[in-house]
Point group: C2
Chain length 715, copies 2
């Protein structure tokens, strides 16, 4: 970047600095082009890139399906991406609606797992559309499926809720003054027995429904969360279907006031809105009554068993763990490919041309751990999806009263806490990784066209929605404390927190290796995480117990050990992710195991280095072993660097999907970047501030001068 | 936030979860309004807020000047900010030009230090304009001042370069393929002796001048960096004034091709452009010849002593250290004030209303260290400015041959390295702090109107320009290694790296306190940083020496210890900043010292906690002392929280400057936020995608069905 307010006289510095560099202009040896610089990286592969892609995708069949989706999207004019970095909020919303027609077609035409893969593919290039589409099918339709009686469900399907024909929905939970605490919502639904209706009402400014995706302009119906009042008694938050707009004229229904939330950090394709209800009447049967029921006579019936419906909450978190891996892959594809062709300075003065960024140790240290993390998150995503699928199978086959009920509830509790912790851990890590990758692009990272600025802005919301990351991490920490207390009481703990089953030996265990080299062993690294996690969890658990002993309530005691819980959940996630990665490596085809082992070591060692304080605090590693770990991080950065481009290629994202000229497969970054800039900003266009400049440069500077005093007046 | 693709059935979860919360609707006790929630925080001040403002500003006089600037800006229609989050790239560029006229007036009307304060104020609300203005005065005009002979300088001033009348300049250093390595630039300036002209030429695509602020549409002249060729010999990079456009018609000059770089991550008010020169001829005297000279006869004369001009480079970095503190203050003002009025969950079930965010331990842990950092960076900025001013005084009074020359060069070297390290350290930390503050706003942090998303996007470029942060940190680490080697050889080191003067005792020193409480002592914390920094620097120095011993060149040896250098520079900066803060506290007026001491302890302890690995690695603290440090971080978060709103108020930014409804002084956040959203997105506006929705919802779904086969055809 060349501009800054304060860097005067920089020229003088550089000019003089370079005096010495003068040399004659004799014929120089031929330099490698960017494309050649990229090609040579591909020759370094010690493994079959295609085989790794199949392994990542779960088999050749799925790779083919993904490739089919990528091609279909690339050839769909409504999904054109080359100009996405310049479109206005209005334009991007128009595009979003255009895409609906194409994608609605596949909702009914494709089996759910295949359609899910299609949407995952879309989420990578157009996260705003992905969310906008999810507002109807994930949130609105999902609410119907989860909370409507079967008669109600059939009714809304017949109205077009599944086919998106005749109606389109949104989901109004959060309010201007209320987010995570759903119990604190203010909107009311008061039963009018005489009319057999509910009156939906917004009593205060802070009760205004806020952030409601799709509400600003497109939704005709809404699932509204409101406090149920029957005969003057409050029954807590329930959900109600409220019509917002006439489905033909699109005028607002009486009593409904809606506005646009406006500009956001990212995902502007979603028309988030605010809604105020002023005594809006809806039929009693618009309350979703699968669980709580209100009869014609105003009797309220509560459901017998609620927990079995909790599972649904986990799905969104699993999706975000998977998205974290995918977006990390995309970011490191861009930064990694650019680093293979960008050259800067000569690390050796005798070199013919400047050195590739990736050949600097520090650049390897910046990027290789992110590449390793992308692999780690990929495998974590796969495993988390399996965990979720297993849970859903169990939940569907378990009824209240079953013998297996207790086991199912345990699994639910574990999966709930694990997914909460991982959602926070993976989205935070990926957000940081996007920014780190963006910064490795140097000045070009600040251009919208190189993609990572927008990726950052789109991704950032993952850290907040579906449970604020801090709150989720605390929940996960709370689960760990309770597992720890159970383990102390002798109860065996599930696989995810297996280390708590060996507290006797684990808490004081040091790294019992004879030579430092023995540290390079998956079992040792796993043990290291086990020991440290056990200690950090113990710290939180002991703090909690101490507070109880001092007479605090459990709630107050949990609050008191917040910081320790946060640390426990974070460390737990590192170890958990490493274990998923290590397991995947063990199950990898023979020909891939060597390279994946290196990548996995890098993830494990780098994570330990980043958390060195805990490993030293609990004396698992000695200071000199820690020095060895640090040194091995550098060694592994260098080793992974050897075939890092093939490792990136295995992610198998097409140039269209990457949508960044700096991340193109062939390495021809400069020409493609320049083309992109020129296509979006054609030369010779008129610009609106020309008259301002001209009048500025041609102004009469005497404007500023005072009128000369008339000397005679002074007399 | 309410939407996500995958969270189906969330409703069911929440609905059931809340069954228990049902209660009757008896009259509830009155709750505190947001404004009342804010007011009560102000009553907690144990110090005079106004006195702290004066102390921060350097005296009442300067507070008054800042307040005058804030009022002038607020009342200037061209500086209206309420709609800035919605303006397009074109609109914001028009605004930028409109502001030029006002601000140009003050360039000549105000003394430089006062004008600098004005620009610092502007940089906080409109960083894009600040930069755009700096392109002419800082870069273009600064280049003339630094590199033109006095005759050349007079010439360009007479053409209007100072008054911005008749011409406006830009500064073309970076190229598409070349950033930090100025020696690698490709643009050529070939001397044509016959014509007494230079021919400026862009030989390749990668030589295209890139990122040139002001070039796209506004600059008439440009200082161009190009490789000087005279009689076939290359003399390295020099600078040349090239006219880009006719100053009246604004058509491009022959051989000049210019385009718009287009959309960026932030600061879109700057019309960054690319430039290609095709054999553009300029008079020989357009080469800036204060240092290197080319005579009419083609003789090239090199300057005698270059280093004394390096000082200028430091100025931009000092400005960014100061900006880091100011932006951190702004971010924590928004997040801090919101946390005083936003309520969520009830930490005690008997409370009348929900609990303030700031009363949660974890929220204190998220925000209070950032508040402490803002104070730390403020005082570091003040000190760094002083260091710079002293250096400039020395440089101006020193001539080659002076007795004081060696001393001046030492000071230059130290200030150069210090400012490089601090620029990187402070801009990185502040960027992270902005995002951390944004996330504490929950969903509202994702709204453009709450300000921190834009602040992030605008600020991010600080990490790259004026020297990429990683490269600057490595430079700083290199300086530390060389100081360490000098110290080993017995040479006394300057104050900034004073710890290197006591290596004998320091390297193996542990914390010699009898009780943990004694750790709460500025001298102990300073010693802790000294010990740890000395060890980390030693590690880098020893790695370097080891590589030399193995026969590497110094360059290769430095490359080999990159990661250790990076760590050394980072740890050094932490200790350096703490020392600046502690010194400022000692010099504070009596009535402010108690509160500032708490804030300073929090900064010191939190920084140690974040880098616990090093303190344990080098055994300055024992694990149990480290536990004490961790516990004290929480204690100090709680203590600083007591009067954190007064501490924020002392920054004294007006609501206009903050430009976020969540950060308003009176705490009336919801109404102001809602007003802002409605003003920018009035209800009832037509929207362009209505027909798309209507046709989607009214489509004939049989579109998708196949033609029924005619059974007879099968026969």
């Amino acid at each position: 970047m060349s501009e800054s307010a304060a860097a005067s006289q920089r020229l003088a510095f550089v000019q003089n600095h370079l005096q010495v560099a003068a040399c004659s202009n004799k014929e120089e040896p031929r330099k490698k082009t960017p494309v050649e610089s990229m090609s040579e990286e591909r020759e370094k592969a010690t493994f079959d890139v295609r085989a790794l892609t199949y392994f990542l995708d779960g088999g050749e069949k799925y790779t083919k399906i993904r490739e089919k989706f990528m091609m279909e999207l690339e050839r769909d004019p409504t999904f054109r991406m080359y100009d996405m970095y310049d479109v206005t909020k209005d334009e991007i919303r128009v595009r979003t609606m255009e895409k609906f027609r194409t994608i609605v077609h596949y909702v009914s035409a494709e089996p759910v797992p295949i359609f899910t893969m299609r949407m995952q593919t879309i989420s990578l290039i157009d996260p705003g559309f992905w969310t906008r589409f999810g507002v109807h099918y994930g949130l609105f339709f999902g609410a119907l499926r989860g909370s409507a009686t079967s008669a109600q469900f059939s009714h809304w399907v017949s109205k077009g809720a599944l086919a998106l024909n005749g109606m389109v929905g949104c989901f109004a939970m959060t309010e201007l003054g209320h987010g995570s605490n759903v119990a604190g919502l203010e909107t009311t639904a008061t039963f009018d027995e005489a009319a057999d209706q509910f009156i939906i009402h917004t009593p205060t400014v802070t009760a205004t429904k806020w952030w409601i995706g799709g509400a600003a302009h497109t939704a005709t119906h809404c699932v509204v969360f409101a406090q149920l009042y029957v005969r003057g008694k409050r029954y807590g938050t329930k959900s109600f279907v409220v019509q917002l707009r006439d489905t033909r004229t699109y005028t607002l229904m009486p009593g409904v006031n809606i506005g646009d939330i406006g500009k956001k950090m990212g995902r502007d394709g979603i028309d988030n809105g605010w809604i105020q209800f002023t005594n809006v009447r809806i039929p009693r049967t618009n309350m979703l009554m699968k669980h709580t029921k209100v009869s014609r006579a105003g009797e309220v019936k509560e459901p017998p068993m609620a927990q079995l419906t909790y599972g649904a909450l986990i799905q969104g978190r699993v999706a975000m763990v998977i998205d974290s891996g995918n977006i990390a892959k995309k970011a490191v594809t861009i930064a990694g490919r650019y680093a293979a062709v960008r050259r800067q300075f000569q690390s050796n003065p005798h070199d013919v041309q400047e050195t590739k960024l990736i050949d600097y140790a520090i650049h390897q240290y910046r990027l290789m751990p992110i590449l390793a993390m992308a692999y780690a998150f990929h495998f974590t995503g796969v495993e988390t999806q399996k965990l979720y699928d297993d849970l859903m199978d169990k939940l569907e086959s378990t009824q209240p009263g079953d013998a297996a009920l207790q086991d199912t509830l345990e699994t639910l509790k574990e999966t709930h806490a694990t997914s909460a912790g991982l959602k926070a851990f993976c989205t935070w890590s990926t957000l940081n990784a996007i920014e780190a990758c963006r910064q490795t692009l140097g000045g070009h990272g600040y251009s919208a066209y190189t993609g990572l600025a927008t990726t950052y802005n789109d991704f950032a919301v993952h850290c907040t929605w579906e449970g604020d990351n801090t709150i989720l991490t605390l929940q996960s920490g709370r689960y760990l404390v309770s597992c720890y207390r159970e383990a102390l009481a002798g109860k065996a703990q599930p696989e995810g927190v297996d280390y708590l089953n060996h507290l006797d030996t684990l808490l004081t265990q040091g790294c019992a290796v004879k030579t430092n080299e023995e540290i390079l062993n998956f079992d040792i690294i796993q043990q290291a995480w086990g020991v440290v996690t056990a200690n950090v969890v113990k710290k939180a658990g002991d703090d909690f117990a101490e507070s109880l002993k001092q007479g605090m309530s459990p709630e107050a005691a949990y609050e008191e050990c917040s910081q320790a819980r946060l640390a426990a959940a974070k460390i737990h996630s590192f170890g958990y992710v490493f274990r998923r990665f290590a397991q995947a490596v063990k199950s990898a085809p023979e020909g891939l195991r060597a390279v994946l082992t290196k990548v996995c070591f890098l993830y494990g060692l780098y994570s330990i280095e980043q958390n060195a304080g805990f490993f030293l605090q609990y004396r698992y590693f000695t200071p000199s072993q820690m020095d060895y770990v640090r040194a091995q991080v550098n060694v592994h950065c260098r080793e992974v660097r050897q075939e890092y481009i093939p490792l990136i290629d295995a992610f198998n994202y097409s140039d269209y999907m990457i949508n960044s000229p700096l991340g193109v497969y062939d390495g021809n970054v400069y020409e493609k970047y320049f083309d992109q800039v020129k296509r979006q900003n054609p030369v010779g266009q008129p610009h609106p501030y020309l008259p301002l400049i001209q009048s500025l440069l041609r102004r009469d500077i005497e404007d500023d001068e005072p009128l000369e005093e008339d000397e005679e007046d002074d007399e």
